[in-house]
Amino acid sequence: MQLMKDHTQNSSYMGGLGKVGENISLIGVTIMFAQKGSLTRKCVWLFVLLYLLFGARAFAQQDSSVRKDLFQMSLEELTEVNVVSASRQEQKISEISVPISIITAEDIHYSGLTSIPEILQFEPGVDVLRTSRFRYAVGIRGLHDVISDKTLVLINGRSTYSSVYGGAEWFRLPLFPEDIERIEIVRGPSGASWGANAFNGVINIITKNPDDVLGYFGSTTITEFGDSFTHLRWAEKKDKWSWRSSLGYEDQKSSDEAGAGDYKSSVPSMNALIGFDTYSAQDFSRNLITDNEFVYQPSDWTKLSLGVGHSNKTSGNFETGGLFPSNHRCYETTRLFSRIDRKFEDGSSGSLQWFGNLERSGLGDQLSYHNFENDFEGQLNFAPIGNHHILIGGNVRLIRINSKSPTAESYKFEGEPFDEQLVGIFGIDRWKITDRFTIEGQLRGDWYSETQTDWSGRLTGLYALDDNKDHILRFSAAKAFRSPMAAIRNVTVERFAIGPDLYLMNVVKSSHELENEETWSLEAGYTGKLAKGLTLQLDGYYQHYDNLIGIKTGPDPLGLGRFFISVENIADAEAWGGECELAYENKRGKLSAWYSYNDFRTEKSHQDIRAYQPAKHKAGLTGRLFLPDNWAFNVNYKFTDTTPGNPNGGDDIGSSHRLDLTISKKIAKGRGELMLGVSDILVKTRESVLDLGAYTAHETPGRMFFARLQLKF
């Protein structure tokens, strides 16, 4: 607060009004918290008063020294300047304090892929397993499962994780691949910037600004199995308004219809009891999606953004814990946001944002629930103070979960409906000690109404080996935590009555309160521009995990052979490894190759961690060639080593090679494009992968030919 007051300098009308507004805000905050009242109401008013504080600022000239520097740059240097801030701060990739990979819009476009997890798998250190045609286990450096809560997934910095399970449900995100500007993949604990869930890494999906996609756009992809993916977009700019509106429909056939779908059981002795012979791969999906963003920019100093995205998905059912209900599953997701970005006269800037996620899920006879999240957050980037660039922020999140258990064999959440609150504050200081040496410190504290208060941090040293800062060394220490989400803390389930009040599988609550999972890491890295267009990135890490939560199987008190399982903090684990990537890019195309080694060891043998361990060795290659006459050829290749199976009986998932090829040509004077492609050409069907909580799994189709037509005008 004191720093912001000191920066109010303008004596104009705007500055005078600013001072009044600022004083009102400060008095308001004091009175508000002195009063009794619900926490929800206080948090809403805090947001309003913070908005006033921002609104109290006047508009004026930017620091002219920044502009002068640009005129002293060469043409080549100007082509390297970022014009939009990435994630929390505007930084060059080589100066970022975490290991990061970027998937560009061009990478997405020429892959021809319609699913984001499929695109992610071609990046260093990312583990992806496919459990059905639309369900994926995605994790950075392993710890992946369909509902894994160890990798934070964001869209434009806004969380997508399920407040019930803690993981991102990729299949319900209202998002189109051709609306994505880039995907930032951060490897390592990043909780200091983003809070819990950023345990092993962050995936931040940045969408395109309306200004960058003006006009009409249509795309339709058809596969040999009869799947179709259609996307229509309209973006327009009028005076100070601009908008982007996308509408699309996906129709994906089941694995059975696609020639795969053979089921496998991990508990053959129970097949008769669970009705295994009746199982078939009902993993079709139909999804109607819309994503819209509206921007009002009255000046280059203020920007108001509003957005609404919705997806309405119906899918076939699948087996969980021996239960294969007859009803289809339906998922409705609505994501809304409102945001204001402001720049101030002293060179500082800030943002205030609200976002809301509403999810309704009907899981056949197992469970139906709806949850509603409200998140209020603010961030202030101070103008440089000496050699320090300081950034502070915080957020308040309000969650409500309401569930219904339709049958006695359903999942139940004890004590529901749940109302939970999370509050986090963070600060980042980037201190340029010398022209070549910078230290960045990040610190964050989070309070949770239902679990423990905890903190995250990261300390990084960046050292440029040369004056041009083409070669940067990075050393970091980081700490993050993961707070157990509602499903883990509160769920109970009973399955398959085999007698009065006797069930085949019983999930019981933990005998003690679950503690946060903790992790800390030591990291080192190098990013270098070896020659024009040629870059090398090397990263190494050691990471230790404390109190990992897993599933424990207990004895049947009646000795009848039933499963009694509970969710507990079991033991620790450690991981080490690294990634390296060499990339070359010029006007003719791109060639990049990478290798990652991710080792992971649990403290106890057969220790369950509610997720898969990483495949130890992974390697990938991407090649793209722009040919004469507007042809383009693209190849994506990945090798994945064996993924260790569930330590309590699951099979390992064998090593595999994946090769995707596309060829495309611009048509209609560059306004259109026709693409023919094949994904996973080397494999006809992919082996089955067991979901957490499932006894059975089925194959999914591998090789798939597709065609895509796009037009824009």
Partner: protein, 214 residues
């Protein structure tokens, strides 16, 4: 004063302040002096393009010892050129000329034919002419006016190069890049250095134009 009275007065003040704030967020409230980082970078590019472009000797001589950058349309640059407005480039003073919208230029000209000649002459005298997004529907008319006058035309609309523009700004992965139409440059009578061409994302030459038309 009771707390509830203080609170109600505070709420009223907040509502009034919000109302004032909303009223202040209007286009007129903000001067053209503000400029975004994107346009600061583009301004720096234009300044650099001047250094790497050759104009006919007659054009250089016939301009009051100044090199002019014209901006036609809704100006997005604001104060972006301020750091260099008093500086020299190619030993000549740099001058920024803002023309406003093409329709306003023509509207005045329709009422006064001498004004028309004066306006079009002013456009032709520019060494660099940046065509703002607001003028994309009149782009071909603007290019027609300046095409024989050794003007380096720069823009960023989708079909800028196809309609005869010389350099088009694009954005890639949050960075500013550009494309060049050498054929249009030759027709205009300006010579763009190979150092600019080397950094362009796409260069339209006679060969690439022939391939496209096949």
């Amino acid at each position: 004063m009771e707390t509830s009275t203080i609170r109600s007065k505070l709420y009223i003040l907040i509502v009034v302040y919000f109302g004032v704030q909303a009223a202040l967020i209007t286009p007129q409230a903000f001067a053209a002096s503000a400029s975004s980082r994107e346009y600061q970078v583009k301004a720096a590019f234009l300044y650099n393009f001047i250094q790497f472009t050759e104009w006919p000797a007659a054009k250089i001589a016939d301009n009051n010892n100044a090199i002019s950058i014209g901006i036609i349309g809704d100006d997005p640059f604001g104060a972006a050129f301020d750091p260099v407005k008093e500086k020299s480039v190619k030993n000549k003073k740099m001058v920024i000329k803002r023309f406003g919208r093409f329709t306003e230029l023509i509207k005045g000209a329709n009422e006064d034919k001498s004004k028309s000649a004066e306006n079009t002459e002013a456009l032709r005298k520019c060494h660099v002419l940046f065509v703002c997004d607001s003028e994309k529907e009149n782009l071909s008319k603007i290019i027609e006016i300046v095409k024989d006058s050794a003007v380096l035309t720069v823009g960023q609309s989708e079909n800028f190069l196809d309609d005869g523009g010389i350099i088009r700004f694009i954005k890639e992965a949050e960075k500013v890049a550009f494309e060049v139409n050498i054929i249009a440059a030759k027709e205009a009578g300006v010579q763009v250095s190979s150092q600019v061409l080397r950094l362009a994302k796409r260069v339209i030459t006679e060969e690439t134009a022939d391939d496209k038309n096949k």
